[in-house]
Subunit: 449 residues, 2 copies
């Protein structure tokens, strides 16, 4: 990878590039294959941290670019909150609202995942305070103290989150993120409660009793924390959770766990915020991972980004801020990303990609089961839903070495947690791609045995 | 505006639309003229909250869209932090680094203004703690406590900001924003110090003595707050300020004030963060408003967004985070916006737009001076730098009425503060546009006298 070194040196003077894996040739990348700067072609099972929905240079997306009617949307980025384009309501109806989670008819667009969660939190706080106030207006004291960051205007409300959760890195989001030290160290935070996320045994169906006990323990702790924080006068206004903890190590919980948690939120008057930024968009075999819970009323607020190409959140009517400009910023999303999303949704429907994901996911998970049976010293805890799969290595060093070796063999993968590999292919990842990967992975494991 | 009502009703079910002014036809908008959904053509002196650098549908930007070599950049959005495109270092060098503020050779791209300031704050906190630590590694206690939002791992550091300042609305940014109650009420915040921003008398050259006194008072208060917060064990790691407070009412301060403030920051070991999100990009007649201060070392960190089409911040070498993944997110900007920025910068240079802005700005400010002399009961405090101008009306109701009347006469304007109109034209706003505006404004004032 000759040019790689040169580019990286040059790049070093510009940005913080310790994290750069390699430079890419996106022009030459196609479908599931990412091409690097030296022309190496890799099966991409990480897809830009799970943010490429239908592969590289999909013809439907390229075609959209050549339609002269679309040019203006790229060239003139509006301040969506005050001056939306004529067709924006229709565009949102045919894109984001056509895949709205159960019970939700409202969506607020944002430009990225962090801004989505930050503004969802703000909607929760506003809703919570308005609920407390009832018909009363904010007091003079609230109006004056909020301007200098003090209570009661800036109240001591909290969001309950889970150990191992990841919800972004801006300061509000970061206060609910608990996956790695490197994200959190040295950054001031809020005294918000952190509950344990169940540490389940896999495969889930073999450990139902133990896992149910572990989930019950965590749920009990959640209720204890809600009570404790109420007593501390920092009441829990909302609970945020991922349907599958991703960055934190691909940790699953049962539909029962989420149903109980949703009930606890309801019981204690906390908004239930499901963060689908990584799980949303089809990779679990359903468009939203929370659909696997089988609930009519799964959440009060659902945030998204990544595969949906820009960010935002769905919310119930009552979560809608009561006044304009309470939830606002200059761009509030990007209509040009919505143009792409419309095509992505068309392709998902036309090509039945959710079924495809279910099929490929089964093949992938079965392959991982077989391999962990074959290499019990190296592999454990294979798990997944759809193609949103993961497996643990015996230690961090082996995991990291394997990721590099896989790249040399033409497979690009990502890690998560301390010892896990996470699989995050695009929705166009077919069964035959699974087998290409499994063959290569098998060779690598034999080599590392 | 017949369709406007229908669109707004439909839109109401989707988003929080109380703030929507009207729906736009961006295809038909050209240069300084914004066209609404009913074909009304308006001289746009607000430009999507100051975020359209060279007008609508600029031919240079449209042309860029038809170049097949650019398609891939739009269609394949990378995770810039790990897999940048081959040409990204060159692109950044020819765009953002070619306009880097004095003393800065590093830039970190981000997707929006709020994310830019949030991550700049994080860089400041990391820098500050590393300075304290010297050669020592973070302690075990720091590593464990940071995961649950507690000190010492999440330290009680603060950012000093100014009353009337606006730095965004995500929770870190919002703790430094103090312009309007509607932004702040009900959102938990940090106990961070808020200093008074000078309330100067205009025109500045007529009140130099009074203004110098007022600035000295504010600077003294800044030092007092730094000492007080150090005693409270919430030391000030950074100071953030806008070169001209925008959202807070277009409040100016003298170059002397900023020079002294920069020295105070240096003296107390605080990073000096200049927020150029609204002032940057040429609208003051220089590319960065802080260039008017005439300093070699104006800041430690400078954030931008809006007219630069995506966000980010420049920083000094020592502000660069010491490890990868401390400043990170999925997208970290958007290379497709950089393609546009390259063209914008070409146009600015080719057409000498900074000189144009200076010329138009002079004509605008002189016109405003004349009008406030003519209508002293209605207008006061005309002020500005380049075309970044503002004027106060006698009260909020009159200001709001005038904004609506101006729109009916074909001029789109924005408000700021309680009683101000802010002028935020594109860089292609020429002297003859100034005169078109002044004529219309004059008619409106006569009508409102």
């Amino acid at each position: 990878m000759g040019n790689d070194g040169r580019n990286k040196t040059e790049h070093v003077s510009l940005q913080n590039v310790g994290a750069v894996n390699f430079f890419c040739n996106y022009e030459e990348s196609r479908g599931n294959y990412l091409v690097d700067v030296d022309g190496n072609r890799m099966l991409d099972i990480y897809t830009q941290i799970s943010s490429i929905p239908i592969g590289y240079n999909h013809p439907a997306l390229l075609k959209l670019m050549t339609n002269p009617n679309n040019l203006s949307t790229f060239v003139n980025r509006p301040a969506l909150g005050i001056l939306p384009p004529e067709n924006f309501p229709e565009k949102i109806t045919e894109t984001l609202l056509s895949v709205a989670p159960s019970g939700m008819t409202r969506v607020q667009t944002m430009a990225c995942g962090s801004c989505s969660n930050e503004n969802a939190f703000k909607s929760i706080f506003i809703w919570y305070k308005n609920k407390e106030r009832g018909q009363n207006k904010p007091s003079e004291e609230e109006l004056s103290t909020c301007m200098i960051n003090q209570g009661p205007g800036c109240p001591d409300l909290s969001i309950l989150s889970f150990m191992g959760g990841f919800h972004g890195r801006t300061m509000g989001c970061l206060a609910t993120t608990h996956s790695k030290v490197i994200h959190k160290l040295d950054i001031p935070s809020f005294d918000w409660p952190v509950a344990p996320f169940p540490r389940l045994k896999y495969p889930l169906e073999e450990f139902t009793r133990e896992n149910a006990q572990e989930e019950a323990r965590c749920l009990e702790e959640v209720e204890d924390l809600i009570v404790k924080w109420r007593q501390k006068r920092k009441p829990v206004a909302g609970i945020i959770i991922e349907p599958i903890q991703a960055e934190g190590g691909d940790n699953h919980a049962s539909p029962d766990f989420f149903r109980s948690l949703r009930n606890i939120a309801r019981k204690h008057g906390c908004a239930f915020h499901v963060d689908e930024i990584q799980t949303g968009g089809g990779c679990t075999g359903k468009f939203w991972a929370h659909e696997h819970w089988g609930m009519d009323d799964p959440a009060d607020i659902v945030s998204f980004s990544k595969k949906l190409l820009s960010g935002g959140y769905y919310q119930k009517d009552e979560l809608q801020a009561d006044k304009p400009y309470r939830i606002f910023n200059t761009w509030m999303g990007d209509p040009s990303k919505n143009l792409f999303l419309a095509e992505v949704l068309n392709v998902i429907r036309r090509e039945n990609l959710l079924e495809e994901v279910t099929r490929s996911g089964k093949a992938l998970l079965n392959g991982l089961y077989e391999m962990q049976a074959q290499y019990p010293g190296l592999l454990s805890r294979a798990r997944g839903q759809g193609t949103f799969c993961a497996i643990d290595l015996c230690d961090t060093a082996t995991r990291d070495r394997l990721l590099l070796q896989a790249r040399d063999k033409g497979v690009h993968l990502g890690g998560c947690g301390d010892v896990s590999i996470r699989f995050r292919p695009a929705l166009v990842f077919k069964e035959y791609h699974v087998h290409i990967f499994l063959n290569i992975f098998n060779d690598l494991l034999a080599q590392n045995k």
